[in-house]
C-alpha cells in the first residue's frame, strides 16, 4: 500500500475520499482490531481529547459503537440524547452545537434526519465533525466498516460484484456503499421496487435491476437494506408480504449468487421481511462481524481525525 497521510478535518461522507485514503483507513482499522483482541483493550492514544456524540435519531449500534471506540482510545465522551436536552426547549441545531463547542470538544459525532447537516455544521465549527448518518445522504462509517469486513473475509476489495437490495431511495447506507465500492474498483448493482430506486442513480455508475434473481447472479456480496416499514403508508409498495415475495432474501435466492457470497445487513433487521432468519443466521452471513468491525473502524477514524499519537 502507498503511504498516504490523513488530510481532512471532518468525515462528512465517502464522496471525495480517494482509494488510497480508504486503504489507509483499512490498514489503521487492522491495527485497532488487534487492540480489541487484547485482554485490556484500552490505549492512551486520545487521552485528553473530548468527543461529543449528538444523536437526533434513535440508534443502538452506531451510537454505542462510537462511544466504545472513543473509550478504548481513552478519549472522554459525552453522549447527548436530544429527547432530554435543550432541543426539547426549542433550541436550534446550530445553537446546540455552538454551545457544545464552547465547552471545548475536539470532535462532534452527529446523526440527524436532515440530509446535509454534517456539511452545514462542518462549515460552522472548528472542531472535527463526523457524520454518523444524515437523512438520506451518507453514513460513511457504515460503508467503511462494510468494506473492512469484506477485506477481512476476502483479503481484497476490488473487482467484485456487490448487489444492494432494498429501499435505495431513502438509504444513506446505500449511497455511502455505492461511493465506497466504486472508489475501490468494484461493481455495484442496486435492486428494489422501482418506487424506491431514486432518479438518476445510474449517474453514480451503478446498474439498476428490478428482478432480484437476475440481480443476485454472480454476486460476491449481497447487501440487504433495512426496509423502513412506514414507507408502505406512502404507497411506495403495497404490502410487506408482497415485498418479501418480490425482494426478500431467502435461502433459495442466495443460491443464485456465487458460492462464497457474503451476506451483509447494516441492522436492525426485519426478519422475515427483507431477509429470512435462515439467511441472516447462515454461515455466509457476516452481520455480526460488521458490528465488531464497526468499533474498530470508528477507532481508526477517531485516531486519524484527532491526530492521535503513536499506537502502543
Amino acid at each position: 500500500m502507498k503511504i498516504v497521510s490523513w488530510r481532512h478535518k471532518d468525515l462528512l461522507g465517502i464522496e471525495g475520499l480517494t482509494k488510497e485514503e480508504i486503504e489507509l483507513i483499512i490498514e489503521t482499522t487492522s491495527n485497532m482490531k488487534e487492540i480489541l483482541k487484547r485482554t485490556i483493550k484500552k490505549v492512551p492514544t486520545l487521552r485528553g481529547k473530548t468527543i461529543c456524540i449528538l444523536f437526533y435519531e434513535p440508534s443502538t449500534r452506531t451510537r454505542s459503537s462510537f462511544e466504545l471506540a472513543a473509550k478504548y482510545l481513552s478519549a472522554d465522551t459525552i453522549s447527548i440524547a436530544t429527547s432530554v436536552s435543550s432541543v426539547q426547549k426549542g433550541e436550534s441545531l446550530l445553537d446546540t452545537v455552538k454551545t457544545l463547542e464552547a465547552m471545548g470538544i475536539d470532535a462532534l459525532i452527529i446523526r440527524h434526519s436532515s440530509s446535509g447537516v454534517a456539511n452545514f455544521l462542518a462549515k460552522k465549527l472548528s472542531c472535527s465533525v463526523i457524520n454518523a448518518g444524515d437523512g438520506m445522504h451518507e453514513h460513511p462509517t457504515q460503508a467503511l466498516l462494510d468494506v473492512y469486513t469484506v477485506y477481512e473475509k476476502k483479503r481484497r476489495i476490488d473487482g467484485m460484484k456487490i448487489t444492494i437490495v432494498g429501499d435505495i431511495m431513502h438509504s444513506r447506507v446505500a449511497r455511502s456503499n455505492i461511493y465506497v465500492w466504486k472508489t475501490v474498483g468494484s461493481n455495484v448493482t442496486v435492486c428494489g421496487p422501482s418506487t424506491l430506486i431514486p432518479p438518476g442513480i445510474e449517474n453514480l455508475g451503478v446498474k439498476v435491476e428490478y428482478n432480484i434473481d437476475k440481480a443476485l447472479e454472480d454476486s460476491d456480496i449481497i447487501y440487504v437494506l433495512r426496509l423502513q416499514l412506514e414507507r408502505q403508508k406512502k404507497s411506495l409498495f403495497p404490502s410487506l408480504r408482497e415485498y418479501h415475495y418480490l425482494f426478500g432474501i431467502t435461502e433459495d435466492r442466495v443460491k443464485k449468487a456465487k458460492k462464497d457470497v457474503l451476506i451483509m445487513h447494516p441492522g436492525p433487521m426485519n426478519r422475515g421481511v427483507e431477509i429470512s432468519s435462515e439467511v441472516a443466521d447462515s454461515s455466509q452471513s457476516v452481520i455480526n462481524e460488521q458490528v465488531t468491525n464497526g468499533v474498530a473502524v470508528r477507532m481508526a477514524l477517531l485516531y486519524l481525525l484527532l491526530g492521535g499519537g503513536k499506537l502502543e
Binding site: 436550534s92 436532515s114 440530509s115 456539511n119 452545514f120 445522504h137 449511497r175 431514486p198 432518479p199 438518476g200
Partner: protein
C-alpha cells in the same frame, strides 16, 4: 430640482426603441429631451454608459407585512425596491392575516403613501384565508385597489374553485395569478427532483408538479375566457404548454425569475447545502434554463419578476429540509439581467426592460409613464458599465438570503425617481 442627464441612452420599452439624447428634469417633470440641451446652473450627470428606463415594475414581491415583520416590512421592502431600481411593485398577499379583504388592501395603500418611496400595488387573495376553499371578496378588494388575485405560496388545488375565480374575476378584467404546484407531488421536497437530489439525499419536487397545473390552468382559461398570469415558470414543459396556449389565443401570460434564469440545481451541490439555494419552484436543470432563456427571447415569457422572498437568517441557518423557501431578489434583479441577459446572452436592453416595465404594467393595469416631454419623471438611471460585487450585508431589505452574495455583476441602478421625486441616488435611499 433641476437635473440634466447628458447623452444618455433612453429606452422606450413599449416600442422597443433606444435613442441617445440629453434629458432635463425640472421639479419632477421632464422638461426637455433633445440632441443637445444647453442648460447651466443645474445638477448634471454625464450619461455615457448609462441608460434610462421608465416605470420599472416588479409584479411579484413578498413584503411580509403584516405578520412577519422580522423578515421584511413595507418600509424595508420599499427601500429595497427603490435601491433595486423599481418605481412600482406588486406585493403578494401571503401575510398574516392574508390580504383577503378590503381593509387589508386599504392598509397597504395607506402605509405605502406614508412611506412615499415606491408605488406598491397589493394583490389580494383568491380565497378566504388563502385556504383554497371559498372565494374571497374579490370585488370589494378590486374596488379598494387590488390589482390581481393570488393565493401565492399555495396553488389553488381545487379546480372548481379556480374555475369560479377565473369566471368571477372577468367582471373586473383583473388577472388571477397562480402559483402552479401539485403539492401532492412536492410534499416534503426541498429541491428539484432528479440526479442532484439523489446525490444529496434530498426529497425532490418534480417538474410535473408545475407543468400539470399549468396545463390545467390553461384549459380552465380556455373554458372561462378569464385572465390568467402564471407565476415563476421554471421548467421547459410548462413553456411548451404556454406556447401552445398562446398559439391558440388563450389569454395567459407568465413570468420567470432571475434566479431560474441564472442558476440550476447543480448550484445546490456546488454550494454544499447552502439554504440560500432553496427556493420554490426549485432551481431546475440546464435544459430548463436554456428553455427559459429561449422563451424569453421568443416572447413566450412576458414578464421577469423577482419573487422577492426575504427571510430572517434564523429561518435559513438551519437544516436544508427545514429551512424556508425563498430568495431576497429586489436588489439583484437588474444587475443579474444586464449581466446575464444583455452582456452574456446579447438580448437587447429594450426587450429585457419591456418585460419589467411596459408589459407587467399592462397585465396589472397600473400606470406606465413613458419618457416624454411634460410627463412626470418616473424612471431609473442605470450604469451599465459599473461592475461590483453583490454584498448582501448592504441590502436595504431585511432579507439577506441571496445565493448571489459575492458575485461580480455589471449594470447597477444609480438613480430612481418615482412620480417626480428622487428616492434613490448614489447608493442612498432618500427617505422623507
Amino acid at each position: 430640482m433641476r437635473l440634466l442627464i447628458r447623452n444618455v441612452l433612453i429606452i422606450d420599452p413599449e416600442n422597443e426603441i433606444e435613442v441617445k439624447k440629453d434629458i432635463l428634469i425640472e421639479n419632477g417633470i421632464i422638461r426637455g429631451i433633445s440632441e443637445r440641451i444647453n442648460e447651466k446652473e443645474c445638477e448634471t450627470i454625464e450619461g455615457e454608459g448609462k441608460i434610462i428606463v421608465p416605470s420599472l415594475t416588479d409584479i411579484h414581491t413578498h413584503l411580509r407585512e403584516p405578520g412577519f415583520e422580522w423578515k421584511e416590512d413595507l418600509l424595508s421592502g420599499s427601500m429595497s425596491a427603490v435601491a433595486g431600481g423599481f418605481t412600482s411593485i406588486a406585493c403578494m398577499p401571503n401575510t398574516l392575516p392574508p390580504l383577503d379583504q378590503r381593509s387589508s388592501i386599504e392598509y397597504i395603500y395607506k402605509r405605502s403613501k406614508e412611506i412615499g418611496l415606491v408605488k406598491i400595488y397589493p394583490i389580494g387573495t383568491i380565497t378566504k384565508g388563502r385556504e383554497g376553499k371559498e372565494l374571497a371578496e374579490i370585488g370589494e378588494m378590486f374596488y379598494a385597489g387590488a390589482k390581481g388575485f393570488s393565493d401565492d405560496g399555495n396553488p389553488v388545488l381545487n379546480s372548481e374553485i379556480l374555475r369560479c375565480a377565473l369566471e368571477y374575476s372577468k367582471m373586473f378584467s383583473v388577472p388571477i395569478i397562480d402559483h402552479c404546484e401539485d403539492t401532492y407531488l412536492t410534499q416534503d421536497g426541498s429541491m428539484n427532483w432528479g440526479k442532484t437530489a439523489t446525490l444529496l439525499g434530498l426529497k425532490g419536487m418534480p417538474w410535473v408538479a408545475e407543468a400539470s397545473m399549468v396545463a390545467r390552468d390553461i384549459f380552465l382559461v380556455q373554458l372561462t375566457e378569464g385572465k390568467l398570469h402564471i407565476a415563476h415558470v421554471s421548467c421547459w414543459q410548462s413553456i411548451e404548454i404556454i406556447k401552445w396556449a398562446k398559439n391558440n389565443n388563450i389569454n395567459v401570460t407568465c413570468e420567470v425569475t432571475p434566479h431560474h434564469l441564472v442558476l440550476t440545481e447543480e448550484h445546490v451541490k456546488e454550494k454544499d447545502y447552502d439554504t440560500n439555494t432553496k427556493v420554490n419552484p426549485p432551481l431546475r436543470t440546464k435544459e430548463d434554463q436554456e428553455a427559459l432563456w429561449k422563451a424569453l427571447k421568443d416572447d413566450i415569457i412576458d414578464v421577469i419578476a423577482s419573487d422577492h422572498a426575504p427571510h430572517h437568517q434564523d429561518d435559513k441557518m438551519k437544516e436544508y429540509d427545514l429551512a424556508e423557501f425563498g430568495i431576497s431578489g429586489l436588489e439583484t434583479m437588474i444587475p443579474l439581467l444586464i449581466t446575464f441577459g444583455y452582456y452574456y446572452r446579447k438580448i437587447p436592453l429594450s426587450k429585457i426592460f419591456k418585460k419589467i416595465s411596459y408589459i407587467p404594467s399592462k397585465i396589472l393595469n397600473i400606470p406606465f409613464i413613458p419618457i416624454k416631454e411634460n410627463n412626470l419623471a418616473n424612471f431609473t438611471l442605470i450604469d451599465i458599465y459599473e461592475e461590483r460585487k453583490v454584498d448582501s450585508s448592504k441590502f436595504y431589505s431585511k432579507g439577506k438570503n441571496t445565493p448571489f452574495d459575492g458575485w461580480k455583476l455589471k449594470g447597477w441602478p444609480i438613480l430612481t425617481i418615482v412620480d417626480g421625486k428622487i428616492v434613490f441616488q448614489d447608493g442612498m435611499v432618500k427617505n422623507a
